[in-house]
Amino acid sequence: MTVSIKLARTVKDLLQMAQTEYFDAGHRTCQGCESAMVLRWVAKAAGPNTIVIGATGCMYVANTTYYTTAWALPWIHTQLSGTGSAVVGTAAALKALMEKGKLPNEKINVIGICGDLGCADAGGLSEVSNALTHTKYNFLILMYDNESSANTDIQETTMTPYGALTTFSQVVSR
């Protein structure tokens, strides 16, 4: 499971990298949203030969509201718990099609993006776990852990720290 990352070796490379966006305008995340920033830099590093898969979550809802899309890379939605399955299915299909000569043989990055509800909860953990056993496929799973189910009103997930206040917390109001 390796993702080919283009290393900037010269100032010219750096400049080009700074000017080329694969996660671009068209999203509606807030200013300073760390998840969106991470996606932007991951997309830059991965480059154009990449397929991105986004599980249900705020980085799906905020980035691909029809008619707009922030992705200048091929992108597809997967179900909330589907990230592990989706990267395996995509990478396996690319391998099969390239080996059979139905697609040109080249390295294509497969990146699955999920929140903590998607990958650490909701059955997603088992699909990620299974994906990690399929070592012959090339993929990367990226979990942005914002410690809550942020897209659905800040509810608790298994990644929510002890004592943190969520809308599912049973606290006594004083």
């Binding site: 154009p48 030969n49 990449t50 397929i51 898969i53 799906y60 809802v61 691909t64 509201t65 029809y66 899309t69 992705w71 200048a72 890379l73 091929p74 992108w75 597809i76 939605h77 997967t78 179900q79 718990s81 589907g82 592990g84 399955s85 989706a86 990267v87 395996v88 299915g89 995509t90 396996a92 299909a93 690319l94 391998k95 099969a96 099609l97 080996e99 059979k100 139905k102 697609l103 294509i108 059955g123 088992s126 699909e127 776990s129 299974n130 399929h134």
Partner: protein
């Protein structure tokens, strides 16, 4: 080449002929045999495909959905509760319009657990969400229908998944003699899978399944409605070409009429229940009773025109349901309810009876079929149905 094999073996050989690219497996009876045979075909070098053992059925169906999105021909399957565990991914496959072909080894739902026997409720759960559904009757029909399924599903006018239903045990595990056609004929019949401009690849930068709400969901569903309606024509074309290329003619693609001309009483059913019923038809015909049988092959799209053509003017139609639909309009089975709805448009509406039976794999024997026919013939003579829905053979 003629071989002996189970119903699931026949599907596996069809997958070899269709040259699938990706499949995903998870064990559950009675569909599982197909994945064992596929594994052997790959090991022996007859099929080149990525074979992914999944974490569970949801994983399984999500894997093939995404393989299909990048242009791979895929196969998947399950049974009973396994099929239901995958339901979220199953619906996403049809709403994303990926032509996945699945085998459903029909099995009773839990609880009680461990009821391996056939019931059709598992497959019928998806009858409203854009899956084409077909029931097969023999191993040969299973092989042929699998090839036809890929052709129909991948047609640009359809682009919807197909579920092939096979009675658990009675067909999944029984051995038949069937013919494996040469690959050259299959290539003539089945063009390569081409997603066109929907293929997810770095050379085609698209966003698939972005978030839409009330502004576009209605239009997306309407497109599925059009595709499902188109499927009727595409299925007809596929069977016509199949007969031409392979020399096996199934006649009417949607239903199999058996001695229905001039019949006073026609039984209707899906799957292997045809065997005892056809035998009963032959014996009763020999005694001069005008009886017949209509086997439904394609349940989605529903063969409304054929149902009307064959059943309008019949005195009594008796539907055998290997399923239930609790609280449905007449508390009968799902097939009964659909046929009754279709026959509302018939010029001469028949009387209708419903037998719910064979649940959990309980056998419907030749004697049972004779009994059912006798009840229906009695209703035909009297000109009225005393009990509309009969739970056949139930211990009360």
């Amino acid at each position: 080449m003629e071989v002996v094999g189970t119903g699931t073996d026949a599907v596996a050989y069809a997958l070899m002929l269709a040259d699938i690219d990706v499949t995903s497996a998870y064990p559950i009876r009675p569909y599982g045999g197909v994945m064992q045979t596929v594994a052997r075909l790959i090991a022996d070098g007859y099929l080149k495909a990525e074979y992914i053992v999944a974490a569970h059925e949801h994983d399984q169906f999500e894997i093939v959905k995404h393989a299909s999105a990048v242009g791979a021909r895929t196969f998947v399957g399950s049974s009973g509760v396994g099929w239901l565990l995958a339901i979220e991914a199953i619906v996403a496959i049809s709403t994303d319009r990926y032509p996945v072909v699945a085998l459903i080894g029909n099995r009773a739902l839990d609880d009680p657990p461990g009821a391996y026997g056939v019931e059709h409720n598992d497959a019928l759960m998806v009858r409203d969400v854009g899956w084409l559904l077909v029931w097969v009757d023999t191993a040969q029909e299973a092989l042929d229908t699998t090839l036809i399924a890929y052709r129909v599903a991948e047609d640009p006018r359809v682009m919807l998944p197909v579920g092939i239903s096979m009675d658990g045990a009675f067909l999944t595990h029984s051995e038949h003699v069937f013919k494996i056609p040469p690959k050259s004929k299959v290539q003539k019949f089945l063009p390569p899978y081409d997603l066109g401009n929907r293929k997810l690849h770095p050379s085609n930068v698209i966003s698939v399944a972005p978030q839409v709400n009330e502004d576009w969901v209605t239009e997306i569903r309407k497109q599925m409605d059009e595709a499902m309606k188109n499927a009727r024509k595409v299925i007809e074309e596929a069977y016509r070409d199949f007969a031409k290329i392979f020399g096996r003619d199934y006649g009417n693609p949607f239903v199999e009429p058996y001695m229905v001309e001039d019949a006073d009483v026609v039984m209707v059913g899906m799957g292997t229940v045809s065997k005892p019923i056809k035998e009963a038809v032959r014996r009763l015909r020999a005694k001069g009773e005008r009886v017949g049988f209509l086997r439904i092959r394609w349940f989605r799209p529903f063969p409304t025109d054929d149902i009307i053509r064959y059943l309008s003017g019949v005195k009594v139609v008796a539907v055998v349901d290997r399923d239930y639909s609790f609280g449905s309009p007449f508390d009968g089975g799902a097939v009964f309810t659909e046929i009754r709805s279709a026959l509302y448009e018939a010029e001469h509406r028949p009387l209708m009876m419903n037998f719910i039976g064979g649940l959990g794999g309980r056998e419907i024997t030749y004697n049972d079929a004779i009994n059912m026919f006798n009840m229906a013939l009695d209703a035909a003579r009297k000109g009225r149905v005393e009990q509309r829905v009969i739970w056949y053979g139930v211990r009360e």
